[in-house]
Every structure is written in structure tokens, then in C-alpha cells.
């Protein structure tokens, strides 16, 4: 019983973190067609910013860090990406790869490579059905899920969200309707990176913060985005749940090395069976008839 509860709690908190990562990566991928391979580096930046401004109390600091993260997103989009969209997703992927190196080495130059740490604002544990669980983890998971929830609501239920989706569907039409596409594209990218920076900032008290810390977050987020239905906005969150469950289950019941092996193998099989992604809205487990692809998900 206790082990089940702690397993569920681990899945829950990991899901919170991954859904924040995957949502950010997902809106950038789904809306802009950019595979943001520097996403892990934005997480790292979030954690380092928390470390760098240790003088400010935790929660206000979080706000400042997210604002700085948004600014970083705007700068990156304007300087690097703005003219690359038309050249397809490998061009932007490679450019973001370069941005990742620059961020990593920049952090190394500024902060050095010694692991840094951030003090948690909440210590202590909470008794959940007989399991002592770190309170801070629960708090940030709730924050993460709330933020993701708001993001989804905003995209699906608000005027702005509709504009964003309209811009992506048809840029010319959107600009004829008086929606400045540049602003919305920049805004989308900045929001995506903002989510990553927030994830890093929230996670920072649990990490040894080094310039390379973000690298390990890219693969799970990437998988989460791509096993969800591509292009959908809630897909990555579903994907994050799948990845969190798989990874926690495997790592709990198997040794770590085998767990990794099986995780990657399972992902390959999952994608082989459902190349068009999983969706929690209408899970279609029957194989769809062989339809010639009429439209590629992203320009190749």
C-alpha cells in the first residue's frame, strides 16, 4: 500500500514537471513547427537564474525569472528563428541546437561548472495515506498543472487563443483580419520557453544546477510531445502522462539500466504501432486503413 502510494505520488509529481516541459515544447512544435532542441537549456537557464538571484525571496524571484525567461524567448525568436520558419523544421532544429550550445557555454562562462543549488522555500513533508512526501514537490506539481491548465483554457476558450490558432493555420488570412502574425509567433515562442524556464525554476531546489543539467530533460519532453497527436495542444500533456508513468514504473520495478533500455524500446514500439500519435480524446486502438499521407505534419 505504502509503496503504491509513493509510486503514484512519484508519477504525479513527475507528470507535473513533464507536462510543463511538454506543453512548452508542444506549443512551439505544434504552432510553429520548430523542434526546440534547446528546450532543456531553457530549463537550465531557469534554474541558474533562481540561483543567481538568491537574495530575492523565493516566490517573487520566481516571477522575475519567468519574466526574464520570456524576454530570452523573445530575443531568441527575433534574432535566430524569425527568418528560418520557411526553410523547414531541420533548419530551425539546427539553429536551436546552436542556441543550446551558446546557452550552455554562456552559463559555464558566467556561473562556472561547479554544481549550484537553490534552497527550497518550503521544507518538511506531508503525510499522504501513511507516506511522508516532500511538501514542496506537491506544491510545485499543483502550480505546474494549474499553469498548464490555464494555458489550455486560454488557447481553447479565449479570443487570444483563437487568434493564435488562426495565425498558425493561415498566416495571410490572420494578417488580413488584423492580427499581427509576427507578434503572435514571437509570443508563442516566448510562452513556450517561458514554460521551460518556469519548469527549471520550480525544479531548481531539487537539482544540482550545472550548465549541462538541461540535457537530460529534452528526451522525455520530446517523446511526450511526439507520442501525443502531433500538432494538438493537449496531446503533449497526455504524452507527458504516458512518459511519466512508463519511466516511473520501469525505474521502480527494474534496475535503472534495464529500465532505460526498455523505456526506449517501448517508445519505438509505441510509435511503430501508432505513428499518428496517441490521443486521450478518442483513443482509436484499431489500426486505421492505410491512407496515403495527404499532408505532412511539418514541412520537411
Amino acid at each position: 500500500m505504502e509503496s503504491l502510494v509513493s509510486l503514484l505520488l512519484s508519477i504525479f509529481t513527475l507528470f507535473g514537471f513533464y507536462s510543463l516541459l511538454a506543453f512548452g515544447l508542444g506549443i512551439i512544435f505544434g504552432q510553429l513547427g520548430v523542434v526546440n532542441v534547446a528546450h532543456g537549456e531553457f530549463v537550465m537557464v531557469g534554474a541558474f537564474l533562481m540561483y543567481a538571484m538568491a537574495g530575492i525571496p523565493f516566490w517573487p524571484r520566481l516571477l522575475v525569472v519567468v519574466l526574464l525567461g520570456l524576454a530570452l524567448g523573445v530575443i531568441t525568436e527575433r534574432l535566430v528563428l524569425s527568418r528560418l520558419y520557411a526553410r523547414g523544421f531541420l533548419a530551425t532544429l539546427l539553429a536551436m541546437w546552436g542556441v543550446g550550445i551558446v546557452l550552455r557555454q554562456g552559463a559555464d562562462a558566467v556561473f562556472g561548472s561547479t554544481p549550484a543549488s537553490v534552497a527550497a522555500p518550503i521544507s518538511g513533508t506531508l503525510d499522504v495515506l501513511g507516506v511522508q512526501y516532500p511538501l514542496y514537490r506537491l506544491v510545485i506539481t499543483v502550480i505546474a498543472l494549474a499553469v498548464v491548465g490555464c494555458g489550455l483554457l486560454l488557447l481553447y476558450r479565449s479570443n487570444l487563443g483563437m487568434r493564435i490558432r488562426a495565425t498558425v493555420d493561415n498566416r495571410t488570412m490572420a494578417s488580413l483580419l488584423g492580427i499581427p502574425p509576427t507578434l503572435i509567433i514571437t509570443g508563442t515562442f516566448a510562452t513556450g520557453t517561458g514554460f521551460a524556464v518556469l519548469a527549471g525554476a520550480l525544479q531548481s531546489p531539487m537539482l544540482g544546477v550545472t550548465p549541462g543539467v538541461g540535457v537530460s530533460f529534452l528526451a522525455p519532453a520530446f517523446f511526450a510531445v511526439l507520442i501525443g497527436r502531433p500538432g494538438s495542444l493537449s496531446g503533449p500533456i497526455f504524452g507527458a502522462l504516458v512518459v511519466a508513468i512508463l519511466s516511473t514504473l520501469l525505474r521502480t520495478y527494474l534496475n535503472e539500466t534495464v529500465a532505460q533500455l526498455i523505456l526506449f524500446a517501448l517508445l519505438i514500439i509505441l510509435i511503430a504501432v501508432r505513428p499518428n500519435g496517441l490521443s486521450w480524446r478518442k483513443p482509436q486502438w484499431k489500426i486505421a486503413p492505410a491512407v496515403p499521407a495527404t499532408r505532412n505534419g511539418a514541412p520537411a
Binding site: 533548419a91 541546437w97 550550445i101 528526451a219 533500455l261 486503413p289
Partner: protein, 599 residues
Amino acid sequence: MRFLKPVTNWRRRVERRHAIALVSAVLVLAVVPFLLPAYPLALLTLALAYGLFAFGLDLGWGRAGVISIGHAAFFGIGAYGAAIAVNTGMPIAIGVAAALALSALVALGIGRVGLGGRALASTMAVLTLALTLLAEQIARSWLDVTNGSNGLFVPSPGVVDNYYRTAIVALVVVTAVWYVALRGPLGRRLLAVRVNEQRTEHLGVDPHRTKTKVFVLSALVATVAGSAAAPVIGLVSPATAGIVMSTQVLVWLAVGGRGTIIGAFLGAGIVTIGQEYLGEAIGSWYLLVMGVAFILVVRFAPGGLVGLATKLRSSPLARSAAQDALIVSDRTDADIASGRSAAAAGGSNFDRFRQDEEMSIRNPIDLDPAALSLQDVTKSFGAVPVVRGVTLNIPAGQIVCLIGPNGAGKTTLLNLVAGDLPVSSGQIRIRDREVTSSSAHERASLGLGRLFQIPSIYQELTPAQNMAMARAEAFQLVDLPEELERFANNSDVLTQDLPLADQRALELAMSIAWGPEIVLLDEPAAGLSHEDSVRLAQTLRIVNRQLGCTLVIVEHDMDIVRQLADRVVVLADGMVLVDGDMDEVSAHADVRNAYLGAV
């Protein structure tokens, strides 16, 4: 067009400039060890092995647009194959052969899933990413065989020996792949698939199969590169197959330039050698400098260094557009003869003829009067029915015009027939063959040609190359009406720069040059002036008369319909309203009601 003389493939594939290039490459590679001290030579050796790896990736990414962000998995398989063989005392050839077999198998599996009909572009990305992570993890965990994170030591036979071995492997592999694949039908089809997959499919080429083929080839070259690199690297560790290596090779290619042989080697060489000396000069800052430099290359030199060099001076448009693929049919008269007899013997096995690059010949059409028949075909998008039970029999040689108000389902019906959309229910037959669930390219290889509302042509090639491509993949050889021949010699412009009317004419010309028996046309006269429309109608008549093509035309312009149609089918609300000749149709009261505006 006729093949006047049998031309041997060898003469056609290797031009003088290629021979010069090969000889100079051999000379340069042979001389280098006499000029370089040991360590730079070792670096250059490494750069050659890495260059071969990049060349392998380029086959897929650069030439067919197949994405692999985990290509180091194959490189690693090759390196481990060689290393394990050396460490267990087996002949190295066995290790390499086993590695090649494994790579081919893995690549085939990945290709079938990631490049299949249901896959998205991102599927391939995530599959290959998972593959490289998996490969790295296996190398790290399988202690007994791979020695885990400590890796396997591969003794070097000496710097100069190593260099010559690597250079020979690189030269032989590149030359062989270039000669057999890139200058052959595969190279042409890769180009076609990359530039316009839709059109290529309607020329009867299976794009998925083509891409899977090149992905396997690309994996094999990477495997050979890994085997060659093992003694040069000296230590084969899990990172050899890992994600860092996988991104490295993307970087080399992006820096060097995609779609060229020299670009792959140049990129690998400059980055490998450059970071060595840069690292020495500025220490750990070099990574930052590399990152910035890399962003600048991606941002401002999309063609990489080779692209920059090309910009600086002009080269023939056609040649740079074709990425050195040879767009001519590889058939000779002898092939045609043997194809004909094979066709006579083997009946209607079209696929085999296509894939074997042989000639398939027209089945005697008069055996079955219906060139195309639809039996109660329906199509719904979600809950919305668009085509609601259409039954049509079109005899060979007829010109049928489909008319009807907007939203009647005309274009959808063409898409259903061409295989661009699957039917919801019903049956479609082309001649005597049931094709209801066949893909577009399978239907095309029964002689079904297709023209689109927005012309679908090879935008990045010249008109002459478009025509040559259609003829190289031809269903049957035909003599084009003079009217349509004008593009065959136009090599001065890319088709994307042609005016719309010319693009449309080109699409018609190449579709007819391809030699179809049935052609589906979607509003061929839209946007043309009246005179042009009339001329178009005349051309279509000639095509029908001279070549015996069955034409199914969606058209709004009633003048054209009147001039052309042997038979008019009126669609309304997804159903056949009237089916008859022009007079019957225009006399029909329902048509006046449903379709008054355009008459």
C-alpha cells in the same frame, strides 16, 4: 521520343568532368601523407571517416529529405562490429558484415514504420532519436560484449596505413554509391520525391519504397564509415553510437552543405579539424565560438559552405537543380524488347516492371470496354457525406466531362479515383483491375495520369527536366503532339519562375509524355483566357485522337465542355444527376435548377 541507339549506361552515367574529379581526388588523397606530419594526418583520417558518415546521412537527408536525427546508431553498429571482431580475434570482415546486416535490418524496420503511408515527418525524427538513445544504452549496459562505458580498444595499424585504408574505403564507397545509386534510377527518383512527392506518386513511383531504400542505403554507408573509423578513433565507446554523435553529423552536413558529396566531407573536415586547433587556441571558449558560428551558418548560409561557394559563381541551372542526378531513362532498346516479352509472358504484373526499371506495355484495351468503372462509390468526411453513391462506367477512349455546382463533390471524386483519398464504400476498377484500396502510385502504374487544379510539377527543376523525368518514368512511350513538345528543350529557367498558364501547360505536357491511358484533369482551363482555353480544348482533342487517351475532365467552362465532351456527367450533392451527351444535359430541367449560373 525514340531511343535511337542503345547507349551503354556507363557512358551515360560518367561524364568527362566526373572522371577528372575522380582522378584528381585519387591523386590528392594519395599525395597527402607525404605532406603531412603524423598527427594532422591522423586528424585528416578521422575527418575522412566522419565525412563518409556525413555522406551516408546526406543520401537520406540531403537527397530525399528523409530525416534521421539518430544516425550515429548505425555508425556505432559499424564501429562496434569492427571493434568486437578485433577484440575477440575474429576476422574484421565478419564483424563488419554482421554490422551491415544488422544495420540493414534495423534501417528497414525503422524505414517501414517511419516512412510508411501513415507516418508523419515527426515520426521519423522521434524514432531515430529513440534508436540512438537505445543504441547508446545497449552499448553501455551489455558489459560482456561492449565492455560498457570503458569501451573497446581498437589498435591502430599505424597512422599512414590507417590513412590509406580509410581513404580507399571512402573513395570506393562514395564512387560506388554515386555510380550505382545516385546516377541511376534511384538518384532520379530521390530527386523527384524530394521535390514533389505528390507528382512522383502519380508518375507511378512508390515514394515510401524509394525513401525506405535510400534510408537503408544511408544506414549502410554510415555503418561502413563506423567500421572504418574504429581503428582511427582507437576506442569505441557508447558515445560513438549516441545522441551527441548524431547531432554532430547533422552539424557537419549543415556546415558543409546538403546534397553534394564535397559538402559532406568538407563539413566533417572543417568542424573536426577546426575544433581541434580552435580548442588549442582559445581553450574552452571554443565551444561558445562554435555555437555562434553554427547559428550564423544556419541563419545566413542555408546551403552551407558549398552553397556559399556556388552562389559566388554561376553554374548551369539545370545541373545545380538536379543535384547531379541523371534524369534520363536507363532503358535501352534491348530492355524494351525484353520488357515486352516479359510483359507478354507475365501478364499484368506492373509493379515488377516498374521496380525493375523495365518497360511495361499497354495491355490490349479492347478486351474490356470500360477503362474506368465506379460502383456505388461514397465518401464522407466525418459525418458529412460528400460523394453519395456514384456509379459510372467510362469506356476507353471517351472524353467525359464532370460538371456540377460548387461543392457537388467533383474534385473529391477525382481524388477517390486517383487514390489521393480512400473511399468510404464502393468499388473502383481500372480496366479489369480492382483498385479500391490501392495507393495512388499503384493506380498510376496502371496507366492513370492526373492533373491538379493547382499544377503539381517539379518546381525546383527546369521544364526540360520535368519532361525528362516524366519520360524516364513513362508508363509507355508516346509521340507527343507538337503543341506539347515546346518544353522539352527549355533548360533556362526553373518551372517555379514560369507563369501559371505555362506551369499548367507543362503539367499537361509531362502527364501526356508519361504515356497514360486514362487522364484525370481538374479544371484545366481555370484562369486561362478564352483563346487559350480553346487551344487547350484542341490539344486535348488531339491527345484523345492520336494517343487514344481516355479523359475525365472536371470543368466549369461550358464552351470547353461543349467542344470536348463525348459525354457529360452532372454531379449534384454527391450524386449523378444526369449522364448523357451535351444536348441531353442542357435540356434537362434538373440541371437548369441545380446548375443554372454557369450555363
